[in-house]
Amino acid sequence: MTDRMERHYRRAMLAYPRGYRAANTDAVVATLLEVRGPVARETLALVRGGLAERLRERTARTPWWAGGLHLAALAVLASAATWALPLMNLRPVSGVLLVAAALLTALGRVRLALPFALALTPHPVRPLIGPDDVGVAWYSGRPLAADYGPWTLTVILWAPAVLLAVLSLRRGPRLPRRSLLWPAVIAAMAVYAHSLNFDTAPDWEPSFALLRTACEAGALLLVLAATALVRDARWALAATVYLACTVAPAALLAANSPHRTAAYGTLAALTLLAIATSRRKERTA
């Protein structure tokens, strides 16, 4: 029985980072076997503590505002790719620019990423609209549909460049490397965009909008969970910046269906909740 319990708790300790496990597993497991508390409760506390410890290790490397803006830049680039599918179809080089900007940003090389993001931006005082441009309403008349306003995509494509410019001003060690899944997903979207025909609104586009909103809501729930665990403001900052750069332009500069307005309201509420959670002092116990 004791051996089985010990094996169970040692498995639960896998939630902790490797270094922490090496230093503390024996002592923690010995205490668990001595206390003999409810197994489910003790296991949950170990998993929760392990995840919190992993998050603390990651957040220790950079100030909260730099980490938050770095994450926001990647998220905004990914969102720009989803909004710019027609653009990537019409102008394949824009897909290459997005992937390059995302790859360099994920590697922490924001100053190198900035020129690629700037090359992507449309004219700052002329919205993307016209026969060769992409200010066309290809979402229309369906739940979660929206008509592009002429400025929506313009604002969304400028946002990554602005964020990278702010990050480029920062002095100090290079930003840590982030997951290469970000540029990989954008590359997949750029490749997929080539196969599409944007002469007519595609049948799948309401599902695509729904999928994007679901991903955004799922990401915000993860933001809430991470913020609640370690009370660090970086994820709430990233969510707020993302909301301001992508969701807000779509909500304010386009004509939206009631369903889409409700979706945006949900995203805004989750972001506000993350901000409120980040402002509460971390509980020591």
Binding site: A27, V28, A30, T31, L32, L44, A45, G49, R283
Partner: protein
């Protein structure tokens, strides 16, 4: 003004005032002294001890081997004593704000 201490933190520090103690001892003492309100899971306790050690309120005292298993003892630091004493004083002042205004209860005949 310092933020109030959480109840678990308060009773973890209180449990160490009598001298260095190990995880099991801290958990049991905290539960007893809090009247059963503070029941710490082991993972939560060690996370709290890590944060308190970072804040300089507790420190690792020693590690022993009992029945082939390691047992760590933690002690409260001078800063930890000051912090928990300040919290106790704060709570006493807060309690006085109410108790001095309540009329004394007379026992039923």
């Amino acid at each position: 003004m310092a933020r109030p201490m959480t109840e678990p933190t308060y009773f973890i520090l209180a449990a160490l005032l009598d001298g260095p103690s190990h995880g099991y001892g801290i958990i049991k003492l905290a539960e007893r002294e809090s009247g059963g309100r503070v029941r710490l899971a082991v993972g939560t306790l060690y996370g709290a001890l890590d944060r308190l050690a970072e804040a300089g309120l507790v420190a690792l005292d020693r590690e022993e081997t009992v029945q082939g298993r390691p047992r760590r003892y933690y002690r409260i630091t001078d800063d930890g004593q000051d912090a928990v004493a300040a919290e106790a004083a704060r709570m006493r002042a807060a309690a006085l704000a109410v108790t001095r205004r309540l009329p004394p209860r007379t026992a039923p005949a």
